[in-house]
Amino acid sequence: MALIEVKNLEKTYSDGTRALRGVSFDVQEGEFVAIMGPSGSGKSTLLHMLGLLDTPTAGSYVLSGKSVENYSLDEVAHIRNTEMGFVFQMFNLLSRTNVFENVKLPLLYSTVPEGEWDSYAKKAVESVGLSHRIDHEPSQLSGGEKQRVAIARALITKPQIIFADEPTGNLDSKSGEMIMDILQKLHDEGHTVLLITHETHTAEHAERIIHIKDGAVDSDIVVGKRRRTNGSFTK
């Protein structure tokens, strides 16, 4: 059974824009998929649908064998909390809130007992190599560091799927590489990673590249596991 199954997914916005015109594909558990396409192709819309941040106007989306249409709003929030982690292009950290508290944010809405929050957060911060920055606020961090905090936050509830929406879009190439290495490592650890990018060299980290064009799948190619080499991350 596939982790994600979408069939004829459509999204038409209230202004009449048809962002998605029938997208269908499956994603297996543990896959590293890059979704590529020029801006305006509908790739971000697709990610929002998959991440349950928005609802499609037509088509079906089955997540872990269950159709998401049947979930209530609160159940959807719970799935986002426990099954999904998000990494955004703009980092979206809470300003004037330190790294530790930022990383802990999803736990506030989880069922994880409060006594374990600190150890969860420490582990998450450690895994992105920012233990020495724990008391810093976002304004004191570089772009790459901010994105690593965002990844730690996405990881903290140990979700099955990581959604990354242009995670390197606002970073220099060196920081971008580092972020991709971390995502690579997460994939190696068994996470399913869905990456949105318009940069070919970023997409090359993935095992499979889906091209979106004008709201539909243009191509869906398995590119192998050539970049999956070291699997370890060093700072």
């Binding site: 941040l53 609160d74 986002r80 955004f88 809470l94 809405y109």
Partner: protein, 415 residues
């Protein structure tokens, strides 16, 4: 999210915008400060007035001329009425008419000033009958000399007993008893000086000049009626019955059959206490409604700033939803923020209002010589806290709902 973390999150949200939070609650602070101050001062005033009225004693029954004033326009009827005459005293003093009446004292008030060798003072001049009334009801005893007696009243003697302030103003250190003071051009011999009483009643006893009512009527006012007749029942328990007896007797004396046509009315201390309570109560309600409007305006202010805050924090809302916050979590966060804001505003208002009313009480005691007692306005404090929190709840609801219904992607995209 647990309640504890809802509060924590709300507090962090407020702390990160300290100056805005402070501005938001300014209206609430001012509103609650005025509520507490007003209620505290109202309570103090009521207590002060009731204490002083109570000093007159529950047995006292006052008969006034004219019709009982029902509103400000009726007061003239009382001031210029001339229906209380010497004949009424005779009727009232007949035992079979009003059996429980132990004392009847006619009184007239003389407007004007007194002078002695070029020194002038404007006291309260009472033309009084039955001079023991003053010692028995107000514990006023002479320091020097004596009070005049019934014979002086019958003889329309020009004698006066003066308060300590009057003595000091006119005579300074020198002796007053035996000297002549002038009231409206007529010479009065000072027969007694009262001890310093302090401010213990409506009128300052130290500023009183008491002369025989007969003298005042004949030589100073040229009238044959009284401004009031002060009577006393044998005990407070029989006041109600005595009032009825007095009314019957007075109607008989005035030949009145229809009580609606009474040309006098009877005032008891009980009645005065109730009236004052009603007046202060009405004033408090009136002022409270003004403050209530101010609080609504303050609430709209809170709502305004909360709406701005929700818009400003659209991204934060989106992020929280993306990482698993439910609509309810967001709603509660903003609602609790609004309620903490207004409750804190209420608390500050209670502290300020209490401080101000304490300072007011202190100033009134020390500078106005009033026996004003400060009491922590407990009821006002509890009410204020409840009201301000409710304001937060009511006016925070709309912004909080707006926040909770933001779609996560709209919120995340917001720049």
């Amino acid at each position: 999210m647990t309640t504890k973390h809802t509060f924590k999150t709300a507090l962090v949200g407020l702390k990160t915008n300290k100056s805005r939070s402070a501005l938001t609650i300014l209206g609430i602070v001012i509103g609650i400060t005025s509520i507490v101050l007003m209620m505290s001062i109202g309570q103090g005033a009521e207590r002060l007035i009731l204490d002083q009225v109570g000093a007159l004693g529950g047995e006292t029954i006052v008969i006034r001329p004219g019709q009982e004033p029902k509103g400000p326009s009726d007061i003239g009827n009382t001031l210029f009425a001339d229906s209380l005459k010497i004949k009424d005293l005779e009727f009232l003093l007949k035992k079979q008419n009003v059996p429980e009446l132990v004392r009847v004292m006619p009184a007239v008030i003389v407007p004007g000033s007194v002078s002695y060798r070029g020194e002038t003072f404007r006291p309260t001049i009472f033309g009084s009958g039955n001079p023991e009334f003053w010692s028995e009801n107000f514990n006023m005893f002479t320091e020097k000399g004596t009070i005049f007696d019934d014979q002086d009243i019958r003889d329309k003697k020009s004698v006066a007993v003066i308060g300590s302030k009057v003595k000091e103003e006119l005579f300074g250190e020198s002796d007053a008893v035996g000297e002549f003071i002038k009231i409206k051009g007529r010479k009065f011999r000072v027969v007694g000086v009262y001890k310093d009483q302090g401010q213990t009643s409506f009128f300052n006893i130290n500023e009183l000049v008491i002369i025989p009512y007969t003298t005042a009527q004949t030589y100073l006012l040229g009238i044959d009626y009284f401004h009031e007749i002060i009577t006393e029942a044998s005990s407070a328990d029989v006041v109600a019955r005595t009032v009825l007896d007095i009314e019957t007797t007075m109607r008989e004396a005035h030949g009145i059959t229809d009580p609606d046509k009474d040309d006098f009315f009877v005032v008891t201390q009980q009645g005065v206490v109730e009236q004052i309570g009603t007046i202060i109560g009405a004033l408090t309600v009136f002022l409270s409604s003004v403050v209530a409007i101010a609080l609504v305006v303050a609430g709209v202010g809170v709502m305004n700033i909360m709406l701005v805050s929700v818009t400003e924090r659209t991204k934060e809302i989106g992020l929280r939803k993306a990482v698993g916050a439910t609509n309810g979590d967001i709603l509660r966060q903003f609602l609790v923020e609004a309620m903490i804001l207004t409750a804190v505003g209420g608390l500050i208002g209670i502290i300020l209002g209490t401080t101000f009313s304490y300072v007011t009480a202190w100033a009134l005691t020390n500078y106005a010589n009033l026996e004003w007692t400060f009491a922590f306005p407990f009821f006002a404090a509890v009410l204020s806290l409840v009201v301000s929190t409710l304001v937060g709840l009511v006016f925070g609801l709309y912004p909080a709902r707006k926040a909770s219904q933001k779609s996560p992607i709209e919120a995340l995209r917001y720049e």
